[in-house]
């Protein structure tokens, strides 16, 4: 502390330690808050039977089974927003079993929520954002078990701390409505 520069050195070192301690305290506080008051999210998904056509996008060579969704969804995710929440990543995922008996999960719709004001999800008559097709070929069309489950999953990204995953809503046993070629 004898000269100007050593004082700068010492104060900045102390400040770094204090900042790290503050971040650690925030992380621990968030962990405790989640353990003591776990957020209860109840959401609803409703869907008509998923239409499956043999179709292809302009860049594909062959025709393939593609599914088309029409769903309604409501969920109130405001309990998830604390002082340590940076953003929420919501995704609607379909889980189904294909012809070979392999379980697949595919993300069909997603949204990033940055403010608690936007955390109430209410969607009516939406379509899937991303193509619903099995990359290897035959998945959910003729011959496959004709049901899939749809889940609204969230990924909470904090400012400091570990990522948290959870499920906000689930709809099971939605049948596939396989149509003839377009």
């Amino acid at each position: 502390m004898h000269s100007f520069f050593t004082r700068i050195n010492n104060v900045s070192a102390l400040l770094s330690s204090c900042t790290m301690a503050l971040l650690a305290a925030i992380t621990i506080a968030s962990l405790l808050q989640e353990a003591i008051y776990p957020p209860q999210i109840n959401g609803q998904i409703s869907m008509k039977p998923v239409k499956v056509f043999h179709a292809k996008t302009p860049r594909q060579r062959r025709k393939q089974e593609m599914g088309f969704l029409n769903f309604n969804m409501t969920a109130d995710l405001t309990p998830l927003f604390t002082w340590n929440t940076k953003q929420l990543f919501l995704s609607l995922e379909a889980e189904y079993e294909n012809i070979q008996g392999v379980n697949n999960t595919i993300v069909l719709w997603d949204r990033i929520v940055r403010r608690p004001e936007d955390a109430r999800v209410k969607i009516i008559g939406a379509k899937n954002k991303y193509a619903f097709k099995e990359i290897g070929g035959k998945g959910f069309g003729k011959g496959a078990p004709g049901n899939a489950s749809y889940a609204l999953k969230y990924n909470l990204m904090p400012y400091v701390g570990m990522l948290r995953y959870g499920e906000a809503a689930r709809l099971s046993d939605v049948p596939f409505d396989v149509r003839e070629e377009l």
């Binding site: 004082r7 400040l15 002082w83």
Partner: protein
């Protein structure tokens, strides 16, 4: 012989007053009691403001407020502690007087 050596070495310890004044000002020396005080003030200030910013930020549920408070308190601390204020120079080191003349010559 020894006295001539003493005078010879004294001519090197005497510096040009103008540049030495500027250098001393920029170096920002403070005496030992001042250094101790600066150390205590910096530690107590930063510890308490860290705790305060956590508590108030948690109460207001705002991370931005916590870090703004910590930043503002650091700026004020720098103003209080970094420059060599006269209050940190109130206890200069008491040097003993130069030992009396040579015994030989």
């Amino acid at each position: 012989m020894a006295r001539e050596n003493q005078n010879f070495f004294r001519s090197f310890t005497h510096r040009n007053t103008m540049s030495s004044a500027i250098q001393d000002y920029l170096e920002g020396k403070i005496d030992f009691v001042g250094q101790q005080r600066v150390d205590e003030v910096a530690r107590i200030w930063l510890f308490s403001f860290t705790a305060l910013s956590f508590v108030i930020g948690f109460a207001l549920q705002s991370l931005k407020f916590s870090f703004m408070l910590l930043g503002a308190s650091t700026v004020v601390l720098c103003v209080i502690v970094l420059p060599a204020w006269p209050m940190f120079n109130r206890h200069p080191v008491k040097w003993l007087p130069v030992a009396g003349g040579d015994t030989k010559q």
